[in-house]
Symmetry: D2
Subunit: 123 residues, 4 copies
């Protein structure tokens, strides 16, 4: 669970959070899983890439709101894993996405390092 | 068809375009449909919102690349419409999304103004 | 004092934080002064605007770093105020800016509301 | 001279372009000087970094505006150079900055490659 404050830079002229920023918030939450235990999601020559996203924008958030991102690993295969990420404003679910990730090393898709899957799974 | 140059701000430490920026590129392309004929996607008290995105990240782009965004309206209902948006790097399809849009006025979902649908359809 | 984690979205292909994002971090810190006491930097029809920035980029930050933003009001006039904002990576000063702000209401520069100056001054 | 359209992602809840994005627009203009002649501002192990910015935000821009960025090299030393960058909305100067750049190779400030200075100077 990661908490995120909505700042000016996150909003647009519609007065609410710009839609793609919810994906950024999800990425922060994924990365924070690693950072908070002193690890890094990125290796010297390897890093996660997003392969597919299905996202539902259920409600909106505005300047000053505090959002909570919940992340669950719900499928793990050799070459990819899928996370469910949900963003809440207080108790209201405002965004939900499934995010499919692969791992790239030297420009090629490789097996996701077991250590990284374990970190995502135990979170 | 909108052409977009990849600048530093679009990339991340992985050396490639940060994933959610492809959604920004798609939004630029949708807005440009209106701007280029002297119209605005946003009214005084109404604007489009993204309700659902299904996105496939097929390949990557890097600093200096020129990308082309192609947009097609493929479904139009009373309260929402769905666009297919494809991003090419030269002849290679690198990103593809279906983007479902609704129209909000004074915070409520309303019928999409016919003039706006017509603009999206004739594009 | 506001703490900020550096995420992928903040970095660029040079492997470090994209330069203008330090200004975003400073804006987060200014806004947080208001948010943390339950106030909003923005009124119904008024908000701060940045009029001038002098910024020194002294060192760099990378993915996963935790930065601390320190903000001090060092001049307050009727129609503008100037803040000193410093960003530290552990004990190292990596960015320093003076940020001159005015207050806009209905598109015109007005006297900064006394309540807002008081909040910035007591911080 | 580079032309830039203002899109939703560039604006904030104040209804105008978020202040730090003018620095992004300036960076796009600097990079485009290289891209448009088939060069890259970034080498394999070297790239420009911003060392100091003095920026005046003179007026604002909003969704759909077309901005023009003019860039002039006005000082060039061994280890740094300074550009004047001005952003116009039609004939109105809305932003002006001096941007001091250094060149970094393997994490260290080095002499700016002559080829890169020549490109900036002849522009």
């Amino acid at each position: 669970m990661v908490q995120i404050r909505v700042y000016y830079e996150d909003t647009d002229a519609g007065g609410i959070v710009y839609h793609s920023n919810y994906l950024n918030f999800c990425e922060r939450a994924r990365s924070e899983i690693f950072f908070k235990i002193g690890k890094n999601p990125m290796d010297e020559n390897g890093h996660f890439v997003v392969r597919r996203v299905e996202a539902d924008f259920l409600s909106s958030a505005k300047l000053g709101d505090i959002l909570t991102v919940k992340t669950t690993l719900f499928e793990s295969k050799k070459a990819s894993c899928t996370l469910l990420q949900q963003i809440y404003k207080e108790n209201e679910l405002i965004f939900r996405a499934t995010v499919n990730l692969a791992y790239i090393r030297d420009g090629k898709v490789v097996k996701i390092p077991q250590e990284k899957i374990d970190i995502l799974a135990t979170f």
